[in-house]
Amino acid sequence: MIGYIVKRLLLAVPTLWAVLTIVFVLARVLPGDPAQTILGDQATQEALVAMRHRLGTDKPIAEQYADFLANAVRGRWGDSLVTGKPVLEEVGKVLPYSIDLTVSAIVLGALIGVPLGTWSALHRNAAFDYIARLGSLLGLSFPAFVSAIMLLLAFAIELRWFPVIGAGGSGPWERLRAITLPTVNLGIIMAAYVTRVTRSSMLEVLGEDYIRTARAKGVPSRVILWRHALRNALIPVVTVVGLYLGILIGNSVLTEIVFNRSGLGKLIVSALDQRDYTVLQGMMVVYAFAIVLVNLLTDLTYGFIDPRIKRQ
């Protein structure tokens, strides 16, 4: 297992390099002058030159690239143009909120999605299966901010069960109340995804020869389901959940805006509003790391669930 982990970690290095390179290309090589974007059309020539110097965009492109990679890896993401604080600090302040939300959404999504998908597969083409399929397709069609607004309207504004704004007070009860609707929003969309993947994966496994053999020799169907089918069916589910994390990160940006909850999403949006270029670039690096980390975690979980993969 340790050998497998080390190998995966080493493989993550080129991926990180590639992802950071894409970020650099997006930030620097594409047409457009960040200094001009920050200062607007009315900026004087001197102000532009000063801003370029401050951002380091007046250096040769190769040098910028080397600086960018070195600073990204060392966590030197510059200072916010607005608050003057290091970007790393700004990110660190809101990161726990985003992690809370993401983790609880994944748990909720899996708790709803895996049983629904399994049940759906076991009763293929029955009424329940049909409803679950259409329902999950509908769930996948919701842009996260649309579902968030509907939840907000129903449960916070009409029924007043939850606060309309923000992370609320500091007590555990208040925090729970504040995180509930955002979690439900992200969790349900994710559950729609997990349901579909679990269903199709389960159907594939149920059609395998070893399931038929188990049935033929009289293994109780409960044992077939838990020991043989579900465990094998969950392997692709884990991969897909890993891929889904990227979508989840995007959806949490929208959810945080609607529920006015602090987190990476709110940070990136306020940076956009204030043209805080360094924070934006820092956020891209954060997302680059997140993407690589997610891929790594998926690979590791994959190896954990399926022993065959480790040996390869």
Partner: protein
């Protein structure tokens, strides 16, 4: 002599013509038909917007601002007194144009990359697909955020951003069948006949993957429309006062406590388009996917 050899019919691919394949897929399930009909109705409404919209989408009427749904304004008016229904109809045009142009470009670029990469094979294929995997790992919305934030919000930049997120999946879809097909005898025969690589790829490989690419296209169009709306909601869409669905929800959200309909109607519109496209594509995919088709 060469004439007669060229006249010998080349072994046909096993798969049916892609149009036939699509028609069979449609007939295999009703949800695809429902999705198609709903989507076409929306497209028609969008095309007819200049004729059927009751008001100019940009016309402000300060006296009747933030009015609820009524006979004069079916879907109410916004905080500038603009007619929500008219803005919805015009917004549909924008969503559909941005979505379809970006997905068509992604199909074209991604499809070409996939076919060429699979056809050439070897180290080239390895490097290209590795690059595609990295691109694929970027969530659509985050990629869109990055690109639009850096380039500035405009229709062209939105199209670039959304197309970028969809290139990798199309490259993948195009590559796998290409690899499978290129080893077949009839491709070998084409080479023996001295057909150029370009001709083999365009005439003999492309039709085999056309159906699958089009089906994925409908699903990705749904994603593209959702991404565009999301970016507009964040404030990275085509600049106001142009009517965009995401932008309308953004403005409506500011008045959510007293004028909830402002965000509800465009929300439902987005949901309807995305859901219809997903119904369309999902049903077809099940019918076309060779893995699922095997049982027939």
């Amino acid at each position: 002599m060469t004439e007669s050899i060229a006249a010998v019919p080349v072994e046909r691919p096993a798969a049916a013509h892609w149009l036939l394949q699509l028609r069979r897929a449609f007939n295999a399930n009703a949800t695809s038909w429902v999705g198609l009909v709903v989507f076409l109705v929306i497209v028609a409404l969008a095309l007819l917007a200049p004729l059927i919209a009751p008001y100019d989408p940009l016309d402000q009427d300060i006296i009747s601002r933030l009015e609820g749904p009524s006979a004069a304004h079916w879907f109410g008016t916004d905080s500038y007194g603009r007619d929500t229904l008219s803005r919805l109809l015009w917004g549909a045009r924008l969503s559909l144009v941005i979505g379809s142009v970006s997905i068509l470009s992604a199909m074209l670029i991604g499809g070409t990359i996939g076919i060429v990469s699979g056809y050439v094979g070897g180290k080239f294929d390895l490097v290209v697909m590795q690059a595609m995997d990295v691109l694929l790992s970027f969530p659509s919305l985050i990629m869109g955020l990055m690109v639009v934030a850096m380039l500035g919000p405009s229709m062209g930049n939105l199209i670039i951003a959304i197309a970028l997120t969809a290139i990798a999946p199309f490259a993948r879809i195009a590559r796998a069948p290409t690899i499978a097909v290129k080893e077949r005898d009839y491709i070998e025969a084409c080479r023996a006949l001295g057909y150029s690589d370009l001709r083999i790829m365009a005439v003999h490989i492309l039709p085999n993957i056309m159906a699958e690419i089009l089906v994925m296209g409908s699903l990705w169009l749904a994603t593209a429309i959702r991404t565009e709306a999301s970016l507009s909601f964040i404030g990275l869409g085509v600049r106001p006062p142009v009517a965009t669905w995401g932008g309308m929800i953004r403005e409506g959200f500011e008045n959510i406590l007293d004028s909830a309909w402002l965000s509800i109607f465009p929300s439902l519109a987005i949901l309807l388009v995305v859901f219809s496209l997903n119904m369309l594509g999902d049903g077809l995919r099940d019918a076309i996917d060779p893995k699922l088709r095997g049982g027939e």
